[in-house]
């Protein structure tokens, strides 16, 4: 197991390095920071100072080299736009995204899995069919449109919830969190629903198909034949056996929620990472985009690693060797 983990961490370093190169050179070709970030009335001296501050006169390879060296030292560079260290920018916005992601995912698991098991156990009932119909709509309707409709209904027409922003926050563990205040929850409600709908639908369908497959397995019939009551049967035999695909998807989805809640955060002007990313891409803020994507690729590899470890805990038949 240990060698497997070491091996995977090494893989992740390679992945992160490749990502950094792709993003760095991609941004280098596309964006011209001098045009974007200098005020229109900047003098030649201002321009010279800007160029020197960010080493923009050096060849691309040299710039990339010094970027890598700083990266290894934990220095992610300084944003063209904000003039602040990129790391501070990201850490500043991480809590906002994290709380959205965790709460949305919790909804997905707590609603999606029981719903899926229920409808998988009785696939022919009207309720089950209705569930399937709704989940199909839920994950086919585009995210941004769902967001706009939510705003239209709950914020504009009914005036129940605010349409955007994060509302009041409270300090916890040195960061600002909205989930600690009532106003924060009111602001979070719509973006969380917006993010959760898709995930709930996906988990329902996954749990349903897993249930339909597992319930016909012989060990389920055998457990029933040995006199186990239905509820115990579902809890201790069915659930552990349908978890594997769910864990995979949950891991990937959690990563995606943190990294790419861009659409939702934009629609609800939520000051999270997704909004930071989209704003930086628009402005051509190369240090932020590069650092962000390198960090995200790290995060994905880490999540996958955790998922793999969880596999082995759930299913004893899965054992890893160093080849991974």
């Amino acid at each position: 197991m240990l060698s497997f983990i070491v091996n995977r961490v090494a893989h992740s370093l390679v992945v992160a390095w490749i990502i950094s190169a792709i993003v760095f050179f991609g941004m280098y070709v596309v964006a011209d920071p001098i045009d974007s970030f200098l005020p229109e009335d900047a003098t030649a001296a201002d321009e010279q100072a800007f160029i020197e501050a960010y080493n923009l006169d050096k060849p691309a390879l040299v710039q990339y080299g010094s970027f890598l060296i700083r990266l290894v030292q934990g220095d992610l560079g300084i944003s063209f736009n904000h003039g602040e260290p990129v790391l501070d920018l990201i850490l500043d916005r991480l809590p906002a995204t994290l709380e959205l992601a965790v709460i949305a995912l919790a909804f997905a698991l707590l609603i999606g899995i029981p719903l899926g098991i229920f409808s998988g156990l009785n696939p022919r009932t009207k309720r089950s069919k209705a569930t399937m119909f709704l989940t199909t709509i839920g994950y086919s309707v585009p995210n941004f449109w769902q967001g706009i409709v939510l705003i239209l209904v709950f914020a504009v027409t009914l005036r129940l919830l605010p349409a955007g922003g994060r509302g009041d926050t409270a300090t916890f563990l040195g960061a600002e969190w909205a989930f600690l205040t009532l106003d924060g929850w009111r602001h979070m409600a719509l973006p969380v629903i917006n993010l959760a709908i898709y995930k709930i639908c996906m988990h329902t369908r996954l749990a349903r198909s897993g249930t339909r497959e597992t319930k016909t397995q012989e060990f389920m019939t055998f457990a029933k034949a040995k006199g186990i009551a239905d509820q115990t049967l579902i809890r201790s035999h069915l659930l552990p056996n349908i978890l594997i695909p769910i864990v995979t998807i949950t891991g990937l989805e959690f990563g995606a929620l943190i990294a790419f809640s861009t659409v939702t955060e934009t629609v609800f002007s939520w000051p999270g990472l997704g909004k930071l990313l989209i704003d930086s891409i628009k402005l051509g803020d190369q240090p932020v985009v590069t650092a962000y994507l390198v960090l995200i690729s790290f995060m994905f590899v880490t999540i996958n690693l955790i998922v793999d470890v969880v596999y082995a805990l759930i299913d004893p038949r899965i054992r890893y060797s160093a080849q991974g």
Partner: protein, 564 residues
């Protein structure tokens, strides 16, 4: 007055399908007396498992009991609630499934699964329950029960898992055990001891047994009374020896005749066969097709295996060192043209590995294989030509997975021939497919149907036709009839013998069933742990075995005294 424990009267179970209602059971009446072992025998599709499932209300939806009565200990079981059945299941009736590897939950330890049954069906708690679990595992003759409690099913052999299933089934001292093919999925060498364990326990605790099986040998050895079923219908019933030795119905008589005997060798199995004109014409066409390739009709040396050895390296996970398993251990033998050479042994004995090595599907670590004077092993088989490749074919055990479900039977059979452009001018692919179908005993129109429309036996015939399409000289048959019913097995084996005689084929025939091998083969190789125990002709192997292992294999075969 006799004491009837379980009684079904006119039981009918129906599965609604798109083509109308399918009767899985049709008017079945059986009785099980207290303390008796009653057999339900029949071929696949006979509905014998459905009887057991109906008793415990375990019939898969949309099937349902349409008619009839089930009485258990004088109480009707029809129309009772699920809660009622939860009280019966495990407590009064224990169930044993065919395949212990799928009957046990793969992600739960053995201990938890045994304890779960104890908690559900008895009043024992904590320490007492644990002691009971250990006691049960000991009674089912499991070594180191404490270790086993911590293990997962995949870490144990099939035989051990089935003993765990027994332990669960008897955990609450039930009155009846329904054993559904309890040893069919197990290795031959352990079938007997596993079966003995179950029967001994049931006799000890005076538990009645409903023994569902297709194996006449098992029935004859263990059952007091037997019911014969076919297509969901009752065929006949009676005390075991009477039914086996003096069957009243034609079906039972044919079934008994199709059972391969260990005790004497017959040229052919006695099954009703008629050869139609179309079939004999087709055989002539195929014969002409074969004759083009001009195989010599002699019995010279065809295949020579010399000190073949191979080793499998498997990772043992975590930090463990790589494990090596011996696949083949200095195996040497020869096979002459037109000979049917049998290889027997339990799983893991290397019998399939040997065949795979000959076909080039498994590389040897040392030793050589020579076929028609050409080395198949030197220089990684550089000398193997396409002709040699094509002249060696194989037939696999499972006819359900070895045919491409997206191609018709005819396409399955002729696809390789068309790919290699081997068709002669006078024969089209269509004609070849139709004639091959006829020559393996199917209708010509079978060529245009898809594999899933056929039964297991018919599919195996298609697989044989596919091997034949290459005009092979040598066919490796890997347990070709293990997945088939006895009567179908008898027909298939007859067919293979006919093909050998007509087309001068050489067959290497792998099987775990000594009786089948005895009927089929000219010589038999007995293998164990990758090495050859002995090679001899069938009569000598069965009647005068020289190796201890052969003797134990023969002893493990169910005894079947058929006067028929």
């Amino acid at each position: 007055m006799t004491d009837i424990l379980l009684k079904t009267s006119n039981l009918t179970v129906v599965y609604p399908t798109k083509r109308g209602a399918f009767k899985a059971l049709d008017d079945i009446s059986i009785e099980i007396e207290t303390g008796k072992i009653v057999g339900l025998v029949g071929e696949s599709g006979a509905g014998k498992s459905t009887v057991g499932r109906a008793v415990l209300d375990l019939i898969d939806a949309p099937g349902y009991i349409a008619e009839g009565e089930i009485d258990f200990q004088g109480e009707s079981l029809i129309g009772k609630s699920n809660d009622f059945f939860t009280q019966i299941r495990g407590r009064k009736v224990g169930y044993v499934f065919q395949n212990p590897m799928t009957a046990l939950d793969p992600v739960m330890t053995i201990g938890k699964q045994v304890l779960e049954a104890i908690y559900a069906n008895t009043d024992l708690k904590g320490e007492q329950a644990y002691e009971r679990a250990l006691d049960l595992l000991t009674q089912t003759r499991i070594k180191d029960p404490k270790d086993v409690m911590e293990k997962y099913p995949h870490q144990m052999s099939g035989g051990m898992c089935q003993r765990v299933v027994f332990a669960i089934a008897i955990s609450a001292n039930p009155d009846l055990i329904i054993a559904d093919e309890p040893t069919t999925a197990l290795d031959v060498s352990v079938q007997r001891s596993v079966m003995d364990t179950l029967i001994d326990l049931c006799r000890q605790y005076k538990i009645s047994v409903m023994l569902v099986t297709h194996d006449i040998g098992v029935i004859s050895e263990y059952c007091d009374f037997v019911y014969v079923m076919r297509h969901g219908k009752h065929v006949e019933q009676g005390p075991t020896q009477e039914v086996i030795n003096h069957p009243k119905q034609d079906y039972t008589r044919n079934l008994m005749a199709a059972v391969p005997r260990l005790s004497k060798r017959l040229d052919r199995f006695r099954v009703l066969e008629t050869v139609t004109d179309a079939q004999s014409k087709a055989r002539e066409v195929i014969l002409r097709y074969f004759q083009e390739s001009d195989f010599p009709d002699n019995d010279e040396l065809l295949l020579q295996v010399d000190k073949a050895s191979c080793i499998f390296n498997t990772k043992s996970g975590f930090f463990g060192p790589p494990k090596t398993t011996i696949g083949l251990d200095t195996v040497s033998f020869t096979q002459n043209r037109k000979e049917i050479l049998g290889i027997v042994g339990e799983s893991g004995s290397g019998k399939s590995t040997m065949g795979r090595a000959i076909l080039g599907l498994q590389r040897l670590n040392s030793g050589s294989i020579t076929y028609k004077g050409t080395s198949l092993t030197d220089n990684n088989g550089r000398a193997i030509t396409k002709d040699i490749r094509l002249s060696m074919q194989c037939i696999f055990q499972d006819p359900f997975s070895s045919l491409n479900p997206r191609m018709t039977a005819g396409e399955n059979v002729t696809f390789p021939i068309r790919t290699h452009k081997l068709l002669p001018d006078w024969l089209s692919a269509k004609e070849l497919a139709e004639n091959l179908m006829l020559s393996v005993g199917l209708e010509a129109s079978a060529a245009y149907r898809y594999p899933q429309e056929f039964s297991g036996g018919q599919r195996q015939r298609i697989a044989i036709a596919r091997a034949m399409a290459f005009r092979p000289e040598f066919i490796f048959c890997d347990e070709p009839t293990s997945a088939l019913d006895v009567s179908v097995q008898a027909e298939t084996l007859n067919l293979m013998k006919d093909l050998r005689d007509q087309y001068h084929l050489t067959l290497l025939f792998v099987s775990h069933d000594l009786a089948v091998v005895r009927q089929m083969c000219d010589r038999i190789i007995v293998m164990r742990n990758g090495a050859i125990c002995e090679i001899a002709n069938p009569d000598q192997i069965i009647e005068n075995p020289s190796h201890d292992y052969t003797r134990s294999l023969i002893a493990a075969m169910p005894k079947l005294d058929l006067s028929a």
